[in-house]
Amino acid sequence: MDLLEYQGKQLFGRHGLAVSDGKAVTTVDDAVAAANEIGYPVVVKAQVLIGGRGKAGGVKLASNEDEAREHATNILGLDIKGHIVRTLWIEHASDIATEYYASVLLDRSAKKPLVMFSVEGGVDIEQVAEETPEKLIKENVDPLVGLTREQALDIAKKGGADEDVVEGVADALVALYEVWIEEDASLTEINPLIVTPDRKVKALDAKVTLDGNALFRHPENADLGDSANADPIELQAKEQGVTYVKLDGDIGIMGNGAGLVMSTLDVVAQYGGSPANFLDAGGGSDAAKVKQAIELILANDQVKAVLLNIFGGITRCDEVANGLVAAFADLKPSVPFVVRLDGTNDVAGRKILEEAALPNVHAATTMDGAAEQVVALAKGSN
């Protein structure tokens, strides 16, 4: 679950990390009012979950009310790589002496948190890691101990932070780690972490990813993120407790189990097709759930053909077949379906489909055969 910059900054602020005072607004008038209240110069920043906001004209400095109004007008509604700007963050402009980088993330390989720090801030950190790896300090933290001030000081020194701000950087790292732990984050990143001319350390940006599985501990975080720019079908699926990811193609896919669905997408692509979605109906899907899943798939009007790839373990193929029959009665789909039923109760499932004689539904027995067939059907309908 990715947070917008201002949401991240608000979390930072709550955990004692220095951020500029600011306000999130959704209209030009509110933007101007916020700017007047905060005091000029202010920065008007587009709030979208995509990098490259500055280059796209989504971050502007305003030194008076007219400029604030002009920038807010231009940035609200701006399309930044498919993300429409609906929220602005107005904050007091900071004077910058130096730009650093700091982050905490989950090191899946070491199975420990990883703190990263670099004096090369304000640039793409992957580039720093590749071109000048010696300038990016990476240190694992023992999660049973936490990031001590001692280790944080050590990281700041090793990383080459200016001597007079080593303590300030260490404090920021400790606070950033605290946000990571206490908010159940998988990533907390500040780029740039700035040093002001009066030698204060401050987060000028915030990138935070929270663990959706830990939201039961943080109900107050449940509505964060950028739901305004989320895909409406993905939102609906989330409400229904179905895992659905929208993709760019025209072949709707449903399967049971995340691995099998990922694999189904790949096999369809290998046969020259382009999947329209990832949909894991989950283990033990009953007829009602299957119907719901098909409804989600068909909500995408790009879909020209649908593949149901079921290997029944806990999921029973006869239940899936019944769900499909019920879905057809209600939804009367106009696109062809290929249905592959294998595993638990597959014979019964195939029999149900055969007897129902659903229009334009093709049975397949193997995964490869099913993929080949659905690709041909999708192409045929072009």
Binding site: L106, P113, E126, I181, V245, G259, S263, F278, G313
Partner: protein, 292 residues
């Protein structure tokens, strides 16, 4: 032999009285697994079709002699239950529960490593372990698999069934099938399980089924090149997954340019592991190697 579960397994289940927990526990028992107990503090003294229910892991292990724990309790309590099973002396803790916070998994992994180095955790978010003909611990539909010489280790459940079923249709059986789970901090990695298959006499070929996210497959590739004499066949799911999107499993996410399926397949192939591009191809390669 087989690995991890077999004729010596004495299984106890946390969450045995729940709908899923009782269903799968009884399934495991009817397969032949020796199920000796269950945990539910509110139902201690009762039984589930003859399986005694204990108040906590300490009592359960002391009274039933359980050596293997299966965790079915809901996500907020699962990591704690797993830790208590380890503290009580279980050598193997299999966590089926999906949706455990990653930080809980992180603390569990590091605590077990520090305080209970001889306890092995498999999962979370996994289908469990099946040793055909001997024992089933988890939710793998055992009827599709028979005893044989192929060891399977996988991050995904249904994909394992798909690959296993194709092998079975070609006449191959399995020594053990191990689901290590789809979460970011699994208790056991590919390397841990491959090490066991390498030592297992029954296993003649190892199938590794990976997916996007993390670097466990890359680490396995290095390990295989240095330590494994048996043939390994790989599969990676998620070639078409877009970056930054979580594909069902909490751990299945491409972060920037890291964790892609292409990089993983390349890492394995670079170390001489043949990688099937479809589950069907995996079965075909396995058959070729075993000389079907």
């Amino acid at each position: 032999m087989s690995i991890l579960v077999g004729n010596d397994t004495k299984l106890a289940v946390a969450g045995i009285t729940g709908r899923e927990g009782s269903f799968h526990t009884l399934n495991n028992r009817s397969y032949g697994t020796n199920v000796v107990g269950g945990i539910n503090p509110k139902k201690a003294g009762e039984n589930v079709e003859g399986i005694p229910v204990f108040a906590d892991w300490q009592t359960c292990v002391a009274e039933s002699g359980a050596n293997t724990a299966m965790i079915f309790v809901p996500p907020p309590f699962a990591a704690q239950s797993a830790l208590e099973a380890a503290q009580a002396g279980c050598e193997l803790v299999v966590i089926i529960t999906e949706g455990i916070p990653a930080h809980d998994e992180l603390k569990l992994y590091n605590t077990i490593k520090r305080d209970h180095p001889n306890t092995r955790v498999v999962g979370p978010n996994c289908p469990g372990i099946l040793s055909p003909g001997k024992a089933n611990v988890g939710i793998i539909p055992a009827s599709f698999f028979k005893e044989g010489n192929v060891g399977v280790v996988s991050r995904s459940g249904t994909l394992t069934y798909q690959i296993g079923n194709e092998l079975a249709q070609a006449g191959f059986g399995n020594s053990s099938i191990v689901g290590i789970g789809g979460d970011p901090v699994p208790g056991s990695s590919f390397v841990d399980i491959i090490e066991l298959f390498e030592q297992d006499e029954q296993t003649e070929l190892i199938v590794l089924s990976g997916e996007i996210g993390g670097s466990a497959e890359e680490e396995a590739a290095e390990y295989i090149a240095a330590n494994v004499s048996k043939p390994v066949v790989g599969y990676i799911a998620g070639f078409t997954a877009p970056a930054g999107k979580q594909m069902g499993h909490a751990g299945a996410i491409v972060s920037g340019s890291a964790g892609t399926a292409a990089a993983k397949a390349e890492a394995l192939e670079g170390k001489g592991v043949r990688v099937g591009r479809t589950p069907t191809q995996v079965a075909k390669i396995a058959m070729e190697i075993l000389g079907a």
